[in-house]
Symmetry: C2
Subunit: 620 residues, 2 copies
């Protein structure tokens, strides 16, 4: 791929930085964060400002432009991709490496004295604003809010904000009505003496109202804000979306059952002034909950004395713990998803020798097969379909100019998933369709050992995910290997494929204790730059388990795999596995055969069924 | 043991809280932290205010007294002990349990509106002050500094502050002169543009000047402060201690070599006014380093604009990474210590059947045997010598009223260590002199598996200790068991047996990456309340290791045990061990036999040598 030429954009941006029409004084630096006004991870095209300015389109990255420099901070997943997508105007700042300065330290080292650093207060989170502002102030500079987004000023053909049709979800999919969710939220508010709650995260709002949209690709959400009081509910959304009778009925807009469950609907843009009005009428003891990752703009509307910032909201936590209906839906979605993948792998086995399958066509085939399954909505993230050296680019996405052909000689890694109305999937398998090298098998086996160590771990109630991260790495570490990403993330139920507040990572922030009903991914990997990539990912459910003893009656937890796709035995060096690990693989494959085999049979997919049965033969 | 009767003390304390002689308004609550003005873990008798007020003498605990309540927060190590030592006036707050409120939340729940909460600013750390003050302020109360310590007001027979003789350490023990340490500190200050550094931790000051004292039992430190500028050194200490010619020569007080290495000596009490004077003369860009755990009183002398608080000081980090001389000394100290323990265990084997050995006499015997070793100074902490149910009290210390006799029927746990001029030791062994039950063996074996998992772990350079903590627990967790304390702490070299900034714990604060030369303990355990306690502790050195691969040239680390005392095979259920674990035990015992056997032979300790040889037979 050739990098985007950004000379002219940067020239215009720097002109805007000097233009006192946008801020009363010239800006010496301008920060372009990754997110939108809801701090979404995936964003709509109209919000891809960092990509517009730099060319780098990974899911994480912050750009800072000064009069002389343009620098991009991103993490290990994107080092290669960012360096390929950006031209020479940009300097890549590799986060996580010792020698890489933080954004604050870098700014302080390059800025002239008493500089003004601008940022759009809607797309910087309140906690980030606070840290950045503190660091800059202590060095004699200041962070300033620029109301007009300066990228939008130079981005003449910026797309419109999407407003897709809303989908209502009944209790058979959600297990709980939106009315009961509001009531549970208010119980938490009352318990903590909170008068108002401002919801800004799109997946939390979608979850609360049992509604889904399609405003952001891969994420079934819709642009909205919501403010819940003890007796009122305000929903801020493009009002044209509420004309559909099914949606009006679902939200009881025309015949509410109880006064405190009346949803007052207001235009999306009015959230700022409405929150101002609410705050103007607050009593001296009134407290307002808002996530500390909400936008700086909205956070600062709430007077400090009334503001009660929280690292994750009660909706975030409630959403993370899936109820029985959601768990059942997730299980069904994963069986359907496994059917599609078994079919894909059986097809690949036949087609690859012909030399006609590429990364892109394999990804397309996977999507086609998934779309044949009931209640399929779309993909849950862009498919990572990567051959040989492309597999070492952790969040690779095949493009025509990078597209490799699948062969019998190289490792193939596919990380993909889908949104079904009953659940969200995310699965990675690494396969070889010829004969893997001893080194490829060795690395695969260490990754498998790590995957099993997490999946089979038994741990006490109340354990945080970061305490399990090293289990995934121990086998790699012992041979001097590692991978530069976390081990797992929370997974939504027909919602975002990445969600908080739980996960499995060496990073310890915003890491809530694991509890039964939470769903996370387990995905260790190994990446040999320029050669191959290995990752092995299941989505797993946290379940109670009863080991031999029960110390202090704390209870224990473990994981149950929801993903049921065979793990290629050909890639394993089974001599490196312990008996326990071999037993785990055999038991896992038995479950795949049982659950997915039954469904393949029901759907009459004979070739895939044969493939499944062959690939799930017990190892000895 | 019978609890201390505290009714009268609390009555007088509450009277003082209401007395406007000490603070301009009545106090509704008074906080009694654990530490001294240097935030030491072990403290001198004159600083044992929390013990005086409550009777509870564990090493960690914070008391809060209100008009109605008296409450004590302590951690899992001390739940039993605290409940036994405190009378009914006190409520025990078990930290780490979900239902236990934080000190802040509890205060907010019990205080009348607009309350004043008092504390002595010298014995509360700046970071604790900040958190407590913020929480109280947000609830309409305030935290106030009370200059006269209110416990001292009611403590009429409070002991004097000690002022023991100083001991100088030459380069053959320290590996680095104090002049070179000061120069290295100044290089770090210059690199970070810091003009002044205020040292308040006693072990850091002792380490910096290669001096030791005996002011605090078990900790070879002396009461002092130190302020280092780019060209000046101020040492605040009882000046009578500096009359000794050896000390004067060591510090070059009478004939300094270079002007910037002149030590200006001032009385201990003058640190406050001297720091005020330094701060009054600061230039606009001058920055002062002080640990964020230093006293609130001293921290607040430094104007906020000039204050640069750090979670750990450059001395703390430099001290943690032992040089070749210190490592050699630590190794020697551990061999001598093992000689004493082999002798002890051989003696116990003979004496226990007679029914005459008690927890106290065994501890005394251990001390006697250690004191026969060269360069012995004293114990490094109170010996935990515990039989049967007493072993379940994690930081038990035998007292005449709890003293049990060692028998052939109960598990014996001894956690002990010593200060030698060349190094500090800390070792725990759990033994059975008759026949252990299957459950005792099972638990011991899980603990052993955890100990080995940490000790043999290979991990990348830059790994923080908290990422290794779960390795120690995995085998226990798998059976539903656990222990409520961290897995390891940093160990000083002829200094405090507990030191920062590294360690191995599920707690993640102030946890600096492990690097070669650091020394930590590895001490998982299991405690069955009312029945027995098991702990297995070695002091281990972080060493570089070369596994098969070297991912991104990061380099790998592992641990080398410094403690070389046999681990009782009789307590193991060897069937639960993997071949790798059995190999580890055999190799460890081979090393014990080699290093300690040679020394036992040299010292002519035949019975202990025979015991060692028998106890280190390989398991098959």
């Amino acid at each position: 791929m050739s990098p985007k030429l950004t000379g002219e954009i940067l020239r215009q941006l720097r002109q805007a930085m000097r233009n006192c029409k946008y801020f009363s004084e010239p800006l010496q630096a301008y920060i372009i964060p990754s997110g939108d006004a809801h701090q979404s991870e995936y964003i709509a095209p109209c919000d891809c400002r960092r990509e517009f300015a730099s060319g780098f389109n990974g899911s994480a990255g912050t750009a800072i432009v000064t009069e002389q420099h343009a620098a991009m901070w991103t993490d290990g997943r994107y080092f290669l991709q960012a360096s390929q997508q950006m031209d020479n105007n940009w300097t890549l700042m590799k986060m996580g490496l010792k020698e890489t300065p933080s954004q604050e330290d870098w700014l302080i080292s390059v800025l002239p004295e008493n500089s003004k650093v601008g940022v759009d207060p809607w797309i910087i989170a309140a906690d980030q604003w606070k840290n950045m502002s503190k660091a800059l102030t202590s060095a004699g500079h200041s962070l300033v809010a620029v109301q007009d987004n300066l990228i939008d000023v130079v981005w003449t053909d910026r797309p419109e904000r999407p407003s897709t049709k809303l989908r209502t979800l009944g209790i058979d999919y959600t297990g709980m009505s939106w009315q009961d969710k509001v009531t549970a939220l208010r119980a938490k508010m009352t318990e903590r003496k909170i008068s108002w709650f401002v919801a800004t995260a799109l997946d939390e709002i979608a979850w609360l109202f049992n509604l889904r949209g399609g405003d952001i690709e891969y994420n079934p959400v819709f642009f909205a804000y919501c403010i819940v009081g003890i007796n009122t509910i305000r929903l801020f959304v493009d009002l044209r979306r509420l004309s559909d009778p099914a949606t009006r009925k679902h939200l009881q807009l025309d015949s509410p059952s109880k006064p405190e469950l009346i949803i007052q609907t207001l235009p999306y843009e009015l959230v700022y002034t409405e929150l101002q009005a609410i705050c103007a009428a607050l009593g001296p003891k009134d407290k307002v909950w808002i996530c500390d990752k909400a936008s700086c703009a909205l956070t600062q509307v709430i007077p400090k004395a009334h503001r009660s910032p929280i690292p994750y909201t009660p909706l975030c936590l409630a959403k993370a713990v899936k109820n029985a209906t959601e768990i059942q839906g997730m299980k069904m979605a994963h069986i359907k998803d496994a059917v599609a993948l078994c079919e894909l792998f059986a097809w690949l086995e036949k087609e690859i020798p012909k030399g006609t399958v590429t990364e892109i066509s394999a990804a397309d085939k996977a999507e086609e097969l998934r779309s044949q399954q009931r209640d399929f909505v779309g993909l849950s993230f862009p498919t990572i379909s990567s051959v040989g050296p492309n597999g070492a680019i952790i969040h690779y996405r095949p493009l025509p100019e990078t597209n490799r052909t699948l062969t019998l000689n190289e490792v193939y890694l596919i990380d993909s998933g889908a949104q079904y109305v009953d659940g969200t999937t995310d699965v990675t398998r690494t396969m070889h369709f010829g004969t893997p090298t001893a080194f490829e098998k060795e690395c695969f086996t260490y990754v498998l050992k790590g995957h099993i160590a997490v999946s089979a771990a038994v741990f006490p109630n109340g354990t945080k995910g970061h305490l399990l991260d090293s289990f995934a790495r121990a086998a790699l570490w012992e041979s001097g290997l590692d991978y530069l990403h976390g081990t797992g993330h929370g997974v939504g139920c027909f919602l975002n494929v990445h969600e908080g507040p739980c996960g499995i990572s060496y990073k310890t922030f915003a890491d809530e204790p694991l509890e039964a009903g939470m769903i996370v991914s387990d995905e260790p990997g190994y990446y040999e730059d320029g050669s191959f990539g290995i990752r092995l990912e299941n989505v797993v459910l946290v379940v109670p388990v009863k080991p031999k003893y029960n110390y202090r009656n704390r209870g224990s937890l473990t994981f149950e795999p929801l993903t049921l796709v065979p793990i290629q035995v050909k890639m394993m060096n089974t001599e490196l596995l312990t008996q326990k690990e071999r037993d785990w693989v055999n038991e896992y494959h038995r479950k795949c055969r049982e659950a997915v085999g039954t469904e393949l049979e029901r759907q009459g997919r004979k070739e895939a069924l044969e493939w499944l049965i062959r690939e799930t033969q017990p190892i000895v």
